[in-house]
Symmetry: C2
Subunit: 145 residues, 2 copies
Amino acid sequence: MDVAKYIPDDLDRRIIAHLRADGRASLSRLSQALGVARGTVQNRLDRLMETGTLLGFTVRVREDYDAQSVRAVMMIEVVGKSTTQVIRRLRGIAEIYSLHTTNGNWDLVANIRASSLSDFDRVLREVRMIDGVSNSETSLLLSSV
Amino acid sequence: MDVAKYIPDDLDRRIIAHLRADGRASLSRLSQALGVARGTVQNRLDRLMETGTLLGFTVRVREDYDAQSVRAVMMIEVVGKSTTQVIRRLRGIAEIYSLHTTNGNWDLVANIRASSLSDFDRVLREVRMIDGVSNSETSLLLSSV
DNA sequence: AGATCATTGATCAATTTGCTCAAAATGCTG
DNA sequence: CAGCATTTTGAGCAAATTGATCAATGATCT
C-alpha cells in the first residue's frame, strides 16, 4: 500500500467527519450512522490509520487550560535565496508550533507556543539571530475573543 | 458545580495528558496507567466534560487532508475604541477560525479558513468593509514546512 | 467470463462500559 | 480533636463493544 498516495473516498470522508465530531464514537454506532457494516468501518479505520491519513485520536481541551502558555504569531522576512536554510534552522526550535510559507509582505509565518515569557523571549532572540532572517514582526496572542 | 471556575488537579491533568496522546484510550487502560481505580477515572472524566474543561473528543487528520481549504492569517488594525464592535462583526464571519487580540503593530489577529479562493476573497472584502477597521494585512498560508 | 478485492452478515471470546454498592480514605469545619 | 461530607476504592453485574474469522455476495477491471 502506497502510504503517500492513498486518497480517501466518500465513505472514508464520512467516517472522518463523524470522528471529528466525536472521536470516541464506537464502531457499532458509526456503522449504524453510516448505514454500513461494522467490519467495513473497522477495515476503513485501520487503513486510514495505516496510510497516515488519520494521525491519531485526541481530546479537545478548553482553550484557557494551558493558561501558562505564551502564544504568538511571528512574520519572518528572509533575505535572498536562503529560505531553505532558514526553514531548517527554524524547524529545530521546539517552540515553533507550526511554520508556513506565505506570499504577502513576509516569507514565513511561524506559530509560537512557549511555556513562559522567558522561553518566549529566548525563541525570539534565536530566530532573529538566524543567518538569512532580515526582518520579523511578532504579535503576542492575548485573549481569544 | 460552578462550571466556570473548576480547576483541574494533578490527576485531572494526567488524565488529560494521556487522552491528548490517545483520545480513544479505554478507561480501564487509563486507570492502569495512572494507578487509580477505574471508577475514579470515569468520575473525573465525567466531571471534566460537565465543567467544560474538556470540550470533546476528535481525530487528528493529516494536514493536507482538507487540501481544498484556503488558510491565511490576517492582521487587523482598529481605529479608536471600536474594538468591541469590530470583534462582534468579525465573530459573525464563519470563515474566521480563531480571533485574538494582540499587542504588536496590530490590534487583532484572525485565523482564516475558507473552502475556496472566492470564499476567501469575499471574507477579505467583508472584513475590510467593517466600520472601525482602519488597516489590515493578510498572509496566505502556503505549504507547511 | 474470470480474477481480484471490498462488503456484508454472522459468530465467537475477550474486553470495556455503565452502573451500583459498601468500606476505606481524605478533606474540611466547628 | 470529633464529626461530617466528599472522594476513592474494589467488587460485582449486565449490556455493549471490540477484534477476529468465515463464507457468501457485490463491484470493478481486463
